[in-house]
C-alpha cells in the first residue's frame, strides 16, 4: 500500500482538541497567517477552484463555484454557515472532526468566510451533539483570545464574528434552506428554490453554506496549493474523504481515504474485512438515504460524480451480512423518514407515513395485494413529485431493496 495521505485526520489522536497551543504547534493556523499576510480573497477562491474540492455533505457541488457565487454578490452583509447538522443514520464524520481537531474546522471557516466577504459565520450544529458543542465553544473562545476570530484578525483589516447555533436535531435542517429557516427562528422546512441561498439566503442576504468536512479541507489547500490537492484521489472529485464503515466488518470506524477508492478496498484494507464467519450480502452507501451496492458492485469507485451509479452521499458505508433481516432494515429506514419528514408537502408527509405503515405489515407478514400496488405508487410519487430531495431519499433504499430482493420481501406474505 502506498503511503497514506492524511489531510483531515493528520492530527487525530496526536493533539488535545481542547488545547489550541497543541494545534498551533502541529502547524495549525499557518494557512490563516498565509492568507492574511500574502493572499487576497480572490486568490483563495482561485486556489479552491483549482483544487476541485466539492461538497462532502452528499450533493458534491463544487465548493469553489459556490463560494465564488457568494463572493460576486454585491451585498454589504453576507453570511458563511458551517453545516454541522449531521443526522444521517450511521454518519459521524463531522462529529469526529470536532472531537479530534476542532481548530482545523475553525481555521477553514475563518478562511472561507473571509474569502467570500462575510463578516459573520455561523456553525449550525446538531443539538444532540452536547459534547461537541462544548468543545467548539471552548475552541472559539481560545481562537478569539489568540486573535484568529474577532475584529482585525491578526492585526489585519479582516474581521469576523462567529456564532455557534445549536439546532434541535432535525434531519431536514441539514438541507440548506431549512437550515436557514431554522437559524431565522422559523420552522425547519425547506423553501422553494430559486432564489438560491447564494443569492438570497439567511435574512435575505447571500449565504455560503458548506459541510463541515468540506471546510476542514480548506486550510490544507491554502497551505499546499490547489494543484497539489487536485493530484490526490480521483480525477472527477479530487482529495480525500472520511468514510464511515459500519456493520459486519472487523473494524468499524472513520477512515480517511482518497476519493475514487474501490468499495472492496475500503472494506478489506481499511475496515479489516468482513467479520469472520459472515458472508457479504450488500452494502448501503450514504446512510439511510443511500443506494444498495450488491456483490457485483464491489469494484465500483467511490467518488462524487453526478453520473455515478451509486452516489457517495455522506460517505457512510453500512455493510450488511446475510444474517440480517431485510424486513427489519426496511422498517428502520422507513421509520427514520416517517419521523424526519418535515410534513410540508403531501407526497413526503403522507408517503413516508404509508411506507412505514406497510413496512410494519411486511414484517408481520400481513401485507395485502392492495399494499403491493400502493408501494409502487408511493415510491413513484416520492421519487418524482416531492418538494425537496428528502422524499427522493426516502424512496431510494426501499426501491433498491425491492429491485434486488423482491422475493425475500414478499416471501412471508400471504
Amino acid at each position: 500500500m502506498k503511503k497514506e495521505i492524511k489531510i483531515i485526520t493528520k492530527n487525530w489522536g496526536r493533539i488535545n482538541p481542547n488545547q489550541i497551543e497543541e494545534y498551533i504547534a502541529a502547524g495549525g493556523y499557518r494557512a490563516l497567517r498565509k492568507f492574511v499576510a500574502e493572499m487576497s480573497p480572490q486568490s483563495v477562491l482561485e486556489e479552491i477552484k483549482t483544487s476541485g474540492l466539492c461538497g462532502r455533505g452528499g450533493a458534491g457541488f463544487p465548493t469553489g463555484r459556490k463560494l465564488e457565487c457568494v463572493a460576486s454578490e454585491k451585498s454589504k452583509e453576507k453570511y458563511f454557515i458551517c453545516n454541522l447538522d449531521e443526522s444521517e443514520p450511521g454518519t459521524y464524520k463531522d462529529r469526529s472532526i470536532v472531537d479530534n481537531d476542532p481548530h482545523m474546522l475553525l481555521e477553514g471557516i475563518i478562511i472561507g468566510a473571509l474569502a467570500v466577504g462575510a463578516r459573520k459565520a455561523f456553525i449550525y450544529i446538531n443539538g444532540n451533539y452536547q459534547k461537541e458543542i462544548e468543545i467548539l465553544e471552548r475552541a472559539v473562545e481560545q481562537a478569539q483570545e489568540k486573535d484568529f476570530i474577532g475584529e482585525n484578525i491578526l492585526g489585519s483589516k479582516y474581521g469576523l464574528e462567529m456564532e455557534l447555533f445549536a439546532g434541535a436535531g432535525a434531519y431536514i435542517c441539514g438541507e440548506e434552506t431549512a437550515l436557514i429557516n431554522s437559524i431565522e427562528g422559523n420552522r425547519g422546512e425547506p423553501k422553494a428554490r430559486p432564489p438560491y441561498p447564494t443569492q438570497c439566503g439567511l435574512f435575505g442576504q447571500p449565504t455560503a453554506i458548506n459541510n463541515a468536512e468540506t471546510i476542514t479541507n480548506i486550510p490544507w489547500i491554502i497551505e499546499n496549493g490547489g494543484k497539489a490537492y487536485a493530484k490526490i484521489g480521483s480525477k472527477k472529485s479530487p482529495g480525500t474523504k472520511l468514510f464511515i464503515v459500519n456493520g459486519a466488518v472487523e473494524n468499524p470506524d472513520v477512515f480517511e481515504a482518497p476519493l475514487g477508492i474501490k468499495l472492496v478496498d475500503l472494506i478489506g484494507k481499511y475496515a479489516g474485512g468482513i467479520q469472520a464467519g459472515k458472508d457479504f450480502w450488500f452494502a448501503q452507501i450514504g446512510g439511510s438515504s443511500g443506494r444498495l451496492a450488491m456483490e457485483k458492485d464491489l469494484k465500483l469507485k467511490l467518488e462524487y460524480d453526478c453520473e455515478a451509479k451509486i452516489p457517495l452521499g455522506s460517505g457512510a458505508v453500512l455493510v450488511v451480512d446475510k444474517t440480517a433481516d431485510i424486513h427489519e432494515l426496511l422498517l428502520s429506514w422507513t421509520g427514520f423518514f416517517r419521523r424526519e419528514s418535515c410534513g410540508k408537502c403531501v407526497p413526503c408527509r403522507e408517503g413516508t407515513f404509508r411506507l412505514w405503515e406497510i413496512a410494519k405489515r411486511l414484517q408481520d407478514g400481513e401485507v395485502s395485494e392492495r399494499d403491493v400496488a400502493a408501494i409502487q405508487d408511493i415510491l413513484w410519487t416520492l421519487n418524482n413529485t416531492t418538494f425537496c430531495p428528502l422524499g427522493k431519499f426516502a424512496a431510494t433504499a426501499f426501491s433498491d431493496a425491492l429491485d434486488n430482493f423482491r422475493d425475500e420481501i414478499y416471501k412471508i406474505s400471504k
Binding site: 432535525a170 420552522r187 422546512e189 422553494a192 430559486p194 423518514f337 416517517r338 419521523r339 424526519e340 419528514s341 418535515c342 410534513g343 410540508k344 408537502c345 403531501v346 407526497p347 408527509r349 403522507e350 408517503g351 413516508t352 407515513f353 404509508r354 412505514w356 405503515e357 392492495r370 400496488a373 400502493a374 405508487d377 408511493i378 413513484w380 410519487t381 418524482n384 413529485t385 416531492t386 418538494f387
Partner: protein
C-alpha cells in the same frame, strides 16, 4: 420571452410563474394549496411536465425556451397518487360535512375521476372491526376546537394546505408536530382566541375551518309560526352572494329568497349604518379629543383589546350597525306593532365573522354568506321560481351613499365631512400595525382613524363567499 405550452407559442413576461401564464391563456391547471398571491407548492397537484421532469407550476418561474406539457400520463399519475394520499388523511365524511359540494378536495377528486382509494383512511371514525385492527396505533390525533362563537375547527378534515397559516394576519395558526403527525393548530393547541376576521374560514378548501352556528336551530326558529324572524341585509353581502348561488343576482332576488326561507320581514342594514354614523358623529363632536378610532369593525376592536390595550380609550363607544338596528327593532318596532320582543328573532346576513362574537341579547344570530348558501341548499329552494321583491316598509334608508361604509375608508370620509376634521383610514392588519406604531410614537395627530381588518373593508370580509 417566449415559451411553448402544449405546442402552442405563448409570450410571457419575466417573473411570471407557469401557473399564471396558463391561467391567463385559458389552460386549466388544478391546484389545492394555492390561493391568490400565495403559492407555496405544498400540495403537488399543479404539477406540469417540462423536459421530462415534473415541476409545480405555481412556484416555478418561466424561463426562455421552456416547453411545457400540462396533460400527460405522468402528470395524471402524480395527481392521482397525491390526491389519494391526501384523501386518506381526510375524514371523507362528505354527506354530513358542512362544506359538502363546496369542498375543493371533493371537487378535485371528482374532476380527476378518482375511483379507488388504495390507502386506509386514518382520520375517519371506523366502525368496521377489521379496519380498526388495521389502523392500530396509526390513527392520527384529531383536534376539535369549538371553544369560541365564531369559528369551529377540526383537524379531522384538514389537508394541511397551509392556506390559513399564510392568510392569518396575526399568525395564529402554524404546523404542530412533524411528518405524518402534522396538524395545523394554535400554539400548544390552546382554543382559538384570535381577532376572528374569518379570512381563514373563507379560504379553507375543506370543512376543517367553518362558520360556527347551529343551523338546525335557526331553521327551527324560521319555521316556528309563533316567532317572527327578521333579516337584516348588509349591503356588502351582495358582493359575493352570487358566487354562492348564481341565481341570486340582485337585492330584490335576495330578499325574495330570504322570504322564501321563512323570514317574515327583510330590512336593509343601511338604516343601522345611518344611525351608527350619526352616533359616532355625535360622540366625536362631544369628545373633542383627537385620534378617535371608529368602532364599527368588531375585529379591529378585538385586535386593540388583545394587542394594543393602550388604545382602548381611543375607540368610540358605539355599537356596530347590526346591534343598533336589532335594538331599534326589539324596542321601537316591537312596541309600534304590538309584538312581544321575545317573539322576534333578528338575524343579520353579514359578511363579517367577528360580529358573531359578543352579541347582546337583541341580535339573535349572524349568518355569513356561506351559511346563507348552506341554508338555501339544505332547504332545497327552487331559486329560479322565486320572484324579486323589495325591503320591508319600515327602516327606510334616507341616503344610499351610507352604504359606502362597507368599503375601507368610507365611514371615515363621511364622518370627516360631517364633523369637519381630518381622517386616516387603514385596511388590512399590516397597515393597521403601521398606523398604531406611528400613533404610539406620536408621529400621527389626526381627528378620526378608521381601521378595517379585512383588506378592502367589509366587501372583502371573512364571511364572504369565494370563487372556486
Amino acid at each position: 420571452m417566449k415559451i411553448k405550452i402544449n405546442d402552442q407559442d405563448i409570450a410571457t413576461k419575466p417573473g411570471e410563474t407557469i401557473f399564471q401564464v396558463c391561467l391567463r391563456s385559458g389552460i386549466k391547471i388544478p391546484t389545492l394549496c394555492g390561493m391568490k398571491g400565495i403559492h407555496e407548492g405544498v400540495c403537488r397537484i399543479c404539477v406540469v411536465e417540462c423536459g421530462g421532469r415534473l415541476m409545480t407550476s405555481c412556484n416555478t418561474k418561466v424561463s426562455e425556451g421552456m416547453e411545457i406539457v400540462t396533460e400527460s400520463e405522468k402528470i395524471s399519475q402524480a395527481r392521482r397518487i397525491n390526491l389519494e394520499l391526501l384523501w386518506a388523511d381526510h375524514a371523507g365524511k362528505c354527506v354530513t360535512c358542512k362544506k359538502n359540494q363546496r369542498c375543493e378536495l371533493q371537487n378535485l377528486a371528482t374532476e380527476q375521476k378518482i375511483e379507488n382509494f388504495h390507502f386506509i383512511p386514518r382520520k375517519e371514525e371506523m366502525t368496521d372491526h377489521e379496519n380498526l385492527d388495521l389502523l392500530k396505533d396509526n390513527r392520527s390525533r384529531v383536534v376539535v376546537d369549538e371553544g369560541n362563537s365564531c369559528v369551529s375547527r377540526t383537524t379531522e378534515l384538514c389537508v394541511e394546505c397551509r392556506r390559513c397559516v399564510n392568510i392569518c394576519p396575526i399568525k395564529e395558526f402554524s404546523f404542530n408536530n412533524r411528518a405524518g403527525d402534522v396538524v395545523v393548530g394554535t400554539p400548544y393547541e390552546k382554543p382559538l382566541d384570535c381577532i376572528f376576521c374569518g379570512q381563514c374560514v373563507k379560504n379553507c378548501p375543506t370543512g376543517a375551518l367553518t362558520d360556527k352556528n347551529d343551523l338546525d336551530k335557526i331553521i327551527g326558529e324560521l319555521d316556528d309560526l309563533k316567532k317572527m324572524a327578521i333579516a337584516l341585509v348588509d349591503p356588502a353581502v351582495l358582493e359575493s352572494v352570487a358566487l354562492e348561488q348564481p341565481e341570486i343576482d340582485s337585492v330584490g332576488k335576495l330578499i325574495g329568497v330570504l322570504e322564501a326561507l321563512g323570514f317574515e320581514k327583510v330590512f336593509d342594514l343601511g338604516f343601522g349604518m345611518e344611525s351608527a354614523l350619526e352616533k359616532m358623529a355625535q360622540a366625536i363632536k362631544k369628545s373633542g379629543k383627537g385620534n378617535l378610532m371608529l368602532s364599527h369593525c368588531p375585529s379591529f376592536n378585538l385586535l386593540v383589546d388583545k394587542y394594543y390595550p393602550q388604545f382602548k380609550d381611543n375607540i368610540l363607544d358605539v355599537a356596530n350597525p347590526d346591534e343598533l338596528m336589532a335594538q331599534a327593532i326589539k324596542n321601537g318596532y316591537a312596541k309600534q306593532h304590538k309584538i312581544n320582543p321575545q317573539d322576534i328573532v333578528v338575524i343579520s346576513i353579514s359578511s363579517c365573522v367577528a360580529k358573531k362574537k359578543d352579541r347582546s341579547g337583541n341580535l339573535g344570530y349572524v349568518l355569513t354568506v356561506r351559511e346563507l348558501g348552506r341554508l338555501i341548499r339544505q332547504k332545497n329552494l327552487k331559486l329560479a321560481e322565486i320572484k324579486s321583491t323589495g325591503f320591508g316598509k319600515d327602516f327606510a334608508v334616507k341616503n344610499e351613499s351610507v352604504k359606502n361604509m362597507a368599503h375601507a375608508g368610507g365611514a371615515a370620509e363621511m364622518l370627516a365631512k360631517k364633523t369637519g376634521g381630518e381622517y386616516i383610514a387603514a385596511d388590512g392588519v399590516p397597515q393597521i400595525k403601521n398606523i398604531l406604531r406611528d400613533l404610539d410614537k406620536g408621529r400621527i395627530r389626526t381627528k378620526i382613524i378608521e381601521c378595517m381588518v379585512c383588506p378592502g373593508g367589509c366587501v372583502n370580509g371573512g364571511g364572504q363567499s369565494r370563487k372556486f
